[in-house]
């Protein structure tokens, strides 16, 4: 099968005017601007199969959103090649636009004051869809994403989770073959995040959409994507199946215990103590070797416990570790 | 007296911070001078063509415009917080002020200063100096008119802004009412008759901001002085009462959420 996305040595270099100090410097800068070059993306190559769900992750400023912009056609690269669904994105932006759907978690494409239905009606015209087929598809998607009862409400009056589901419906209305999701769960509570992840996974499985997702939330990546591409400083540092990544880097939980005693001793295989403040114990649990319940139970057994929380290690930390591991 | 001193101190701090970015200051103040200059040229052209409007000539108009520019500029430079009072109320900015000793209103007014308003002060002084043909007594009258007009203008703005204590989306309403008032105060007083005259002495009190005070320059009389000075005293009292009532309501937790 032909890949949905092929990327060959894609690069983007920004030129930034260098600011000079002093009044004279500022004046000089007007006539003789002095530029510094900044390589946001310094040559990345990868392919994505049709129907594959891939996460692109990396710290802020790593180049992941620049890559996504170039692949969706809204930014011209400084070098390299890319094909998305058979199009060169930056040369065939309009044609590609019919075939891709995009969701920006922090940017709405719906009119906040008008019923969602009105925004959808305009999107039908923007994507030039026949009325009947469109109405059928809207009905299906609204049912599937649980927003059928919300269509006459303005998004401005919906909860963030409801709004995000409407955004995803909006991006799927023209039946795109490829879905770009930029931070689709940002700001949502735990339940709403879980619902969005289920919807995206099921949608892609049902219609065979290729999904490319960026997120700061390790769970988004684990639960939605089969493969992870890690970008740092404009380069790909890791490209592998989520399963392998989970085994190596995500198979850990952080158990934080706050206790009356200044220190809590929990000695178990697969559990390491992290440095922390007094009365707070942070335990890193390797879930392949120890069960989280067992660790929590062992901590509670000490008595005098004020609070226990279980968290995933933050994504920044995971990426940092991946990077450190690769540097070795 | 300590309230006045604290207010003056806060006001000067706001003015200094508005002047801190020199480039922005000159750009904004200079831009405002150009903007005001355009209207002056237009009025000049108008009076060249039409000579008078209901007895008002160029010199009358220069006096009116000079006084209004000056009172607006001074209010906005030194007590510029009035401009977005409604937003400050709706945002809950007064919460922190309520925890401090002393009255809230002077603090709200003195915490902001608009750099562009220096352009209004400059334009007002230029107009009054060069086109208003003022005698020494006239200059004193103009000074009184500016003081009275500024007092009524600030009071009016406080009353409009205080609507935010009762109405949730008062921000644009307050701004529109201020714009209307300023707009109608920039026309020759002779055009207002019948119910437009009622309008400018009630809902949009341009009559007390510009028309009545400027009479002190155009045609000073005991009656004119009594009317203008009366307004200059009554309006601040009304504004203080209205704001105070709103503040009471706010403290009881009955104010609308922005």
């Amino acid at each position: 099968m032909k890949p949905a996305v092929t990327v060959q040595d894609l690069r983007k270099t920004y030129r930034q005017p260098r600011r000079r100090t002093g009044a004279l410097g500022g004046l000089q800068g007007l006539f003789q601007p002095d530029y510094t070059e900044l390589a946001a993306v310094a040559g990345v190559s990868f392919n994505i199969r049709a129907g594959e769900r891939v996460a692109i992750i990396g710290p802020n400023g790593a180049g992941k959103s620049t890559t996504l912009k170039m692949l969706s056609g809204v930014l011209e690269p400084s070098g390299g090649e890319a094909q998305v669904l058979g199009f060169t994105p930056w040369r065939e932006r309009r044609a590609l636009a019919y075939r891709i759907g995009v969701v920006f978690g922090q940017r709405s494409q719906l009119w906040p004051e008008l019923p969602a239905r009105d925004s959808f009606a305009l999107l039908r015209r923007i994507y030039d869809q026949p009325a009947e087929a469109f109405a059928r598809r809207l009905g299906e998607l609204a049912e599937r994403f649980g927003v059928a009862g919300l269509l006459d409400q303005p998004p401005g009056r919906m909860s963030l989770g409801q709004r995000m589901r409407c955004e995803i419906v909006a991006s799927l209305l023209h039946a795109p073959a490829l879905l770009f999701l930029d931070e689709p769960t940002i700001g949502l509570d735990v339940t709403a995040k879980a619902a969005i992840r289920d919807f995206i996974r099921e949608q892609s499985a049902r219609e065979g959409q290729t999904v490319v997702l960026t997120s700061h939330d390790a769970r988004d990546i684990e639960l939605v994507c089969e493969r992870v591409i890690v970008i740092n400083a404009g380069r790909i540092v890791l490209d592998e199946a989520t399963e392998g990544l989970r085994r190596r880097f995500l198979a850990r939980k952080l158990v934080t215990v706050r206790s009356a005693a200044p220190v809590l001793e929990v000695e178990m295989a697969g559990v390491t103590r992290r440095p922390s403040e007094p009365h707070t114990t942070v335990l890193e649990v390797d879930t392949a070797r120890a069960r989280v319940e067992a660790v929590v139970a062992a901590a509670l057994a000490h008595g005098g416990i004020d609070d226990v929380s279980v968290e995933d290690p933050p994504m920044e930390e995971v990426v940092h570790e991946i990077y450190a591991a690769l540097a070795d | 007296m300590s309230v006045a001193r604290a207010t003056a101190f806060a006001s000067l701090a706001a003015v200094r911070s508005a002047l801190a970015d020199r480039t922005a200051f000159w750009l904004q103040a200079g831009g405002m001078v150009v903007n005001n200059g355009f209207w002056l040229v237009l009025w000049f052209l108008f009076f060249t063509g039409f000579r008078q409007v209901g007895g008002w000539r160029l010199v009358d108009m220069a006096r009116l415009i000079g006084v209004v520019y000056l009172l607006f500029g001074l209010s906005t430079v030194f007590l510029g917080g009035y401009r977005d009072l409604a937003a400050a109320i709706l945002r809950g900015d007064i919460d922190s002020l309520l925890t401090q000793p002393g009255p809230v209103l002077p603090r709200l007014l003195s915490r902001e200063s608009m750099p562009s308003a220096w352009g209004d002060i400059f334009a007002g002084l230029v107009v009054l100096t060069f086109s208003a043909k003022l005698s020494l007594a006239g200059a004193a009258g103009a000074a009184a008119a500016v003081a009275i007009g500024a007092s009524v203008w600030l009071s009016t703005a406080v009353i409009f802004g205080s609507l935010a204590f009762w109405i949730a989306d008062a921000r644009s309403l307050a701004r529109d009412l201020m714009d209307f008032t300023l707009m109608v105060s920039m026309y020759p007083a002779s055009i207002y008759q019948g119910w437009t005259k009622i309008l400018i002495f009630t809902v949009l009190p341009a009559g007390f901001i510009a028309v009545a005070p400027v009479e002190l320059v155009r045609d000073p009389s005991a009656g004119a002085l009594a009317l203008a000075a009366g307004a200059g005293v009554v309006f601040p009292i009304v504004a203080t009462v209205v704001f105070g009532a709103g503040l009471q309501r706010y403290r009881r937790g009955a104010a609308p959420a922005g």
Binding site: V74, R93, R94, A95, V102, W111, Y127 | G31, F50, R51
Partner: protein
């Protein structure tokens, strides 16, 4: 037809198809702007009130100017009923215009533009069409107020003049939006559109004859005003309610068509250059 290479006819068909889709999308955006403006009816009512206050003041002003026809002044050249109806029309156009330049500025500066570029339609076209819908709603809401004022002051012109005025006002509204759009597109290069807007406002005021007909001007100012797009935008529609022959109407309409075309081309070129800059440099 036979002699045309098949690829060329295919390209032409594709072009026509895309153009029609653009128009349909613009119509959709127009409708959205229209319904959106009516849905926010308190703001609409406020705008009608603003119009009424403006006209009361300006009507009183011109009424006073016309009242004493001082010999040797321009007042002798004023129409018998004063300039109230004229200002009523120019203000109708200006107060109805949606500040689309702020939308352009906001989308360019916040980067929201990028999300719009992911769609297969022209971003600028959709923004202008939506603003046109909002402006249309405002014109419809304000029209009865203007009509009532005309009746109350006894200055209601004949039906033919009303039709001519309404048609030219639509053209004037279109020109206003195009001027605002050009101002808004300056955001690609100067970030803030306010300076450009202040200049545009002064030009509308002076060359468009927002408050006084440009027919009263003399000399080079008269020539300049008539040669500018601002006369077609405000001056001609305002003149239409005072006195205008069918010949004058035809001339005004032709001037509007020419300026709409010219400004639309400028907007399209500026939007294209701005988008190209964004595609190259990012936001």
């Amino acid at each position: 037809m036979r002699s045309t290479p098949p690829s060329l006819t295919k390209a032409a068909r594709l072009w026509v198809r895309e153009a029609l889709a653009d128009l349909r999308a613009a119509a959709g955006a127009f409708r959205l702007g229209l319904t959106g403006a009516f849905a926010a009816w308190p703001a609409l009512a406020g705008r009608v009130a603003f119009y009424a206050v403006c006209l009361m003041v300006l009507g009183a002003f011109w009424g006073k100017v016309g009242a004493s026809r001082l010999p040797g002044t321009l007042a002798t050249r004023l129409p018998p009923g004063g300039l109230g109806p004229y200002v009523g029309v120019t203000e109708w156009i200006i107060i109805s215009a949606v500040s689309v330049q702020l939308r352009f500025e906001d989308e360019v500066r916040s980067g929201a533009l990028e999300a719009r570029l992911l769609r297969p339609r022209s971003w600028a076209l959709l923004l202008i069409a939506e603003a046109a819908g909002g402006s249309a709603a405002r014109m419809i809401a304000i029209a009865p107020a203007g009509f009532v004022l005309l009746v109350m002051t006894g200055l209601l012109p004949g039906p033919q003049a009303l039709v001519r005025t309404a048609l030219l006002a639509v053209g004037g509204a279109a020109l206003t939006l195009l001027v605002y759009a050009l101002v808004g597109l300056s955001a690609f290069w100067v970030r803030r559109v306010l300076p450009a807007m202040l200049i545009a406002q002064k030009l509308m005021f002076l060359l468009g004859g927002l408050f006084a007909p440009i027919s009263l001007y003399r000399g080079w100012l008269h020539v300049l005003a008539f040669a500018s797009p601002f006369a077609a935008q405000l001056g001609f529609p305002g003149q239409a309610i005072l006195s205008m022959s069918w010949g004058g109407f035809a001339h005004a309409l032709a001037a509007q068509a020419a300026w709409v075309t010219a400004l639309a081309v400028m907007v399209a070129l500026a939007a294209r250059a701005g988008v190209a800059k964004t595609l190259r440099e990012g936001v």
